[in-house]
């Protein structure tokens, strides 16, 4: 946890954020699908300074066997930060508590959209590797993984996206970077199924009033249109 006593000023005099973005502006996002030859599907995304690689394997045999579900497939999700991905240490002794938590919530997002009933007794392996991190990596991981799953031909009901909203003083901001993530008053990553508008992930750090919460969600849903468009284009570009 960042030391709040040394909290930096996160908004500039002109009302913009430290990296020059407006309050409701996304960081530049680019996604490329089908980047790994040996994976069934893959995608690479650069979202601001985040660099994320996602790969999908399967459906395949479930190992260890006790995870097997006779009625449906299981998604095995592995979120990992490369040891060189950030200023702090990562990945030196296997997954840490944070990686285990993010792997779990990511798996639960995709449990809701992948047609798992079609592949009983199998596993779909989803690996998300954060090569460079600058805040919002779980959202970037989910957004990239959705593209990788579609690229693998895994049947899904929707192409999920994820992005976070937060609060600096009384202002709602979109797509927090690392410094905002550490020092803002609230951080709320959300994953959305754009077709139905269903929330598949909603976590919150800090405090938001009901109005701020609603405004945050509205900002996320608006930005989601842009993210969905980029995801769609990444998938279409494979065939052009």
């Amino acid at each position: 946890m960042a030391n709040m006593l040394n909290k930096p000023e996160l908004l500039r005099g002109d009302g913009k954020r430290l990296d020059g973005r407006d309050l409701d502006e996304l960081r530049p996002l680019s996604i490329k699908a089908n980047v790994l030859k040996n994976a069934a599907g893959s995608a690479y995304a650069e979202w601001g300074n985040n660099k994320v690689l996602a790969a999908v394997y399967g459906p395949k045999e479930v190992v260890p066997r006790h995870l097997l579900n006779p009625e449906r497939a299981v998604i095995k999700c592995r979120y990992a930060m490369a040891p060189f991905s950030s200023l702090s240490d990562h990945g030196r002794s296997g997954p840490n508590r944070r990686a285990i938590e993010i792997s779990k919530v990511t798996k639960e997002v995709f449990d809701n959209v992948v047609l798992l009933d079609e592949f009983p007794e199998t596993a779909i392996e989803l690996s998300i590797e954060i090569l460079q991190s600058d805040g919002g990596t779980r959202a970037a991981g989910i957004t990239t993984a959705a593209v990788a799953l579609a690229n693998a031909g895994i049947p899904m009901k929707d192409l999920v996206y994820s992005v976070s909203a937060g609060k600096i003083k009384d202002k709602i901001i979109l797509d927090l970077n690392m410094i905002e993530d550490n020092y803002s008053d609230a951080d709320m990553p959300v994953a959305v199924s754009p077709r139905t508008g269903n929330m598949l992930l909603l976590q919150m750090d800090g405090e938001l009033t009901r109005q701020e919460f609603n405004l945050g969600l509205e900002t996320i849903l608006e930005a989601g249109k842009q993210i969905s468009k980029i995801q769609r284009q990444a998938l279409i570009d494979v065939y052009e």
């Binding site: 592949f119 049947p155 009901k157 929707d158 998938l235």
Partner: protein, 204 residues
Amino acid sequence: MNTILIPGDSIETEAARNRNHYFVEDNKPYCTSMCVSSNSKIVPLEGLWYPNEGEPVVGVVKEVKNSIVEVDLSHFLRAIIIKSPRDRISFRIGDIIEASVKQVEDKKTIILIFPRLLKYGMLLQVKAVKIPRIIGKNNTMVGQISSFTKSNIIIGYNGLIYIKGGDMALAVSAILKVAAEAHRPGLTESVKKLLERELEVTEK
């Protein structure tokens, strides 16, 4: 006009439905995988093979037991041949076989019939969704590749292709070209050009 659809896109026409690549919610059909919609037809671009009765497959014998032979079809479902005392074939691990799908039990096991051993050829794996394009309308594509290269080509709907004899390298490159460009129109013609060009170079 060709339109590329992604998971979650609604499918407009009833006729456009491809039964393995859509789901219905509130009486509306939606795509579940990457597809291309053209002339009121939906053709999958990505996706998995869903076995149907009578479809030919190519696989490799994985295990031989007293009553069954397990076959690796490079698929998530287990495939078996049930042995019968009248069988004349003796299977060994590693044998390449061609067979037909008899049925799929509980979405878990594919039962194969009419197995035939394939010897001295090579196996090529492509995405199963590309197989219809590799076969072509009335076998035109595979027939063309086969006649130009003089190779014997046996196609499994599971994505495994057996090639024997003739110019196997040319057959492989032609098949890979079809798999890579399956969504493009005029493919039969461009593959024909490739085959003619390559054969000309070889003859010189």
